[in-house]
Subunit: 385 residues, 2 copies
């Protein structure tokens, strides 16, 4: 096991009816800006519930943060925060709203051009406003971590950044607020969480026995509960388990002391930035081929995955790995997330653009062993068509 | 799943050589008191390493905190802290030193009689000094939680207390510092961790799917690594996995949203207070019988435990449960921790005293359903002889 440090001070308030507990988490004298996305939180009553919980506070709102939140939109919000001397932000929505809010809280006190924050992967951050979240779409884990991914529309660039000041002070996780999500977003959320876990688990053995068991526990739960979430949209326990999986899948716990991959994500980000394809859909397309092509480097963990997660105990090594990858693809499809680029009308001509963008973003040696080259990604993408 | 809140701000610095990182975690101007136990940290070099890391700080020391730390000893330290205007405490040792230090940091600013802190299970705490830990004996999980257990020698009382102010600011977990532990303490640590997990897992089904998987992951790791820790005392990865298991076994993560038992611990505390028997040994004695006698109430989880942890797939329900309990007992014995009171020369005449003490401490309805009565405990203890 490698040395590590683990620190995660986000307070989680989990369960039905917990929005009303927000007030206990924010000092009364603070001026709050509530950020949100396309307006579904206004239609489904979540925004009203938040407003009710914040009675007595001075509160403004900023809506319209889009999926794959853009620098361009977020900078408008930065102006609002500066102009109105906001003290605390409350992100109400899914990963995009939370990620966008992380950019805003870091950009407001930043004295240079805020895109520097993204360009330096967060290194230039010195201060950030405090913020909390009300999660409505479990998927990204952003509600309990210190990272975010932002898109620069003009340059078609989608990049991650992290900083210890970007942990939410608190996050409200009420599973009933996911009841009204369309099936497409449930499918995306389950796939996104699944691939977060595999990025931290399907690498090479590092003697992180608990980390492996925890990762497998999350995958097994996703496999068990994911299809139920589509079949029984108001099953509280199913939604609760998926919500808690999504948070634990990317809160830093399962990655301590072990190698991490993230090549699938980096390729996926370029596909989203270039073609607007949903983040989770890019992962569902890329992961199965990524595992197939890198089966030699990932052999031990793929065999462990086959056995412990999918119960595959027969066949030679390659047959077991084939079966595990096939099961993975079938699981994504069962979540109504297609796994081929052609399913999304994306053709081979995108491949050179993806490679070019990866190079432009200095993503030339990816993966847990930094051996995933642009050439390898090209061959992977050809098998994704 | 039940509603819950989860908050754990302790920073973990894990791995070989991390003691030197202490200085980065404590502001230079603070006056530090290092607390420790019987002196093994002085003999094995850990204390010197801590001292080296704290060069430039004003530093005092207080040794002699005993296993099952007593109010009587700790109050001497409270006086030292008050007299010397200490700002920060650093506990160097195992659970007893850390638990004792938690009492000290709460007692120093407390204006009444500090035993109130324990008597009220922590409710009267309003302030506490900050503190960190250097863990040398993985077992209690105290290095990443906000609870402690203190013994009042005069009244033979051992009671737990908790408070949000009692999380360590940081904890150093260096697995190499456990190499010199005697086998008896390794066995105790593994058993203690195992029973922490079962107290939070072997109750009744509550649809906490991830919590169950995580608990099972910890148990499987303990079963896999525990015996290796006795056979190969300097196997770094084995010690690292056990150390991380112990921390995760009681840092609040696996208990969120699910019922908890703790009856075994409460009975064990009385045995320790009355007879001085090691904490883990009391658990190894009581747990197997506790599970046996309460098999009806715990049936579903015991069957799940039998299947997922011990791989028991044959026999009727009672046979599977019998086999799982037998395996549990055998595991404790394999860790060189005997599981009968007679192994420790404790006879039936202790039973009325335990019952009387439990009643005196208002422990009359224990367990996840508050249905474990003194009469039931009497029949359990008779089967522990």
């Amino acid at each position: 096991m490698k040395n590590f440090s683990f620190y995660n001070p986000t307070k989680i308030l989990f369960g039905e009816g917990t929005i009303k507990d927000i007030a206990g988490e924010i000092p009364k004298e603070l001026k709050i800006l509530v950020t949100y996305g396309g307006g579904s939180v206004k239609r489904n009553g979540v925004f009203d519930e938040v407003k009710e919980a914040l009675q007595g506070y001075e509160m403004l709102e900023f809506g319209g943060i889009e999926p794959n939140p853009t620098y361009e939109t977020l900078m408008q919000c930065v102006e609002v925060v500066r102009k109105n001397k906001i003290d605390f932000l409350l992100a109400v929505g899914g990963g995009s709203v939370i990620d966008g809010t992380k950019f805003i809280v870091a950009a407001v006190p930043y004295e240079g051009e805020p895109w520097d924050i993204v360009k330096t992967y967060g290194k230039v951050i010195k201060r950030a406003l405090p913020f909390g979240t009300v999660l409505t779409l479990p998927a990204t884990g952003s509600e309990m971590n210190n990272g975010a991914v932002i898109t620069h529309k003009a340059s078609r660039t989608k990049l991650p950044f992290v900083h210890p000041l970007l942990y939410p002070r608190f996050s409200i996780l009420d599973p009933t607020k996911t009841y009204t999500l369309p099936p497409g977003q449930i499918g995306n959320g389950v796939v996104d969480t699944f691939v977060h876990v595999t990025e931290q688990y399907l690498t090479y053995p590092a003697n992180g026995k608990v980390q492996d068991r925890f990762a497998e526990g999350l995958l097994l739960t996703l496999i068990e509960e994911g299809p139920k979430a589509l079949a029984e949209p108001k099953n509280y326990n199913v939604r609760a388990n998926l919500m808690w999986c999504a948070t634990l899948g990317l809160n830093g716990l399962i990655s301590v002391g072990v190698p991490q991959d993230w090549a699938t994500h980096m390729v996926g980000h370029e596909l989203t930035a270039l073609k607007g394809l949903d983040h989770a859909k890019t992962l569902a397309v890329v992961l199965p081929v990524m595992l197939d092509i890198r089966r030699k480097e990932k052999k031990e963990k793929l065999l462990q995955y086959a056995q412990r997660v999918w119960g595959i105990n027969t066949g030679d090594d390659d047959e077991r790995i084939d079966a595990a990858i096939r099961k993975t693809r079938e699981f994504f499809e069962s979540m109504q997330v297609p796994t081929r680029l052609c399913d999304y009308n994306i053709t081979a001509d995108i491949i050179p653009d993806v490679i070019e963008q990866l190079k432009a973003h200095k993503m030339i040696l990816l993966g847990e062993k930094k051996d995933v080259t642009p050439d390898l990604i090209e061959s992977i993408l050809k098998k994704c068509l």
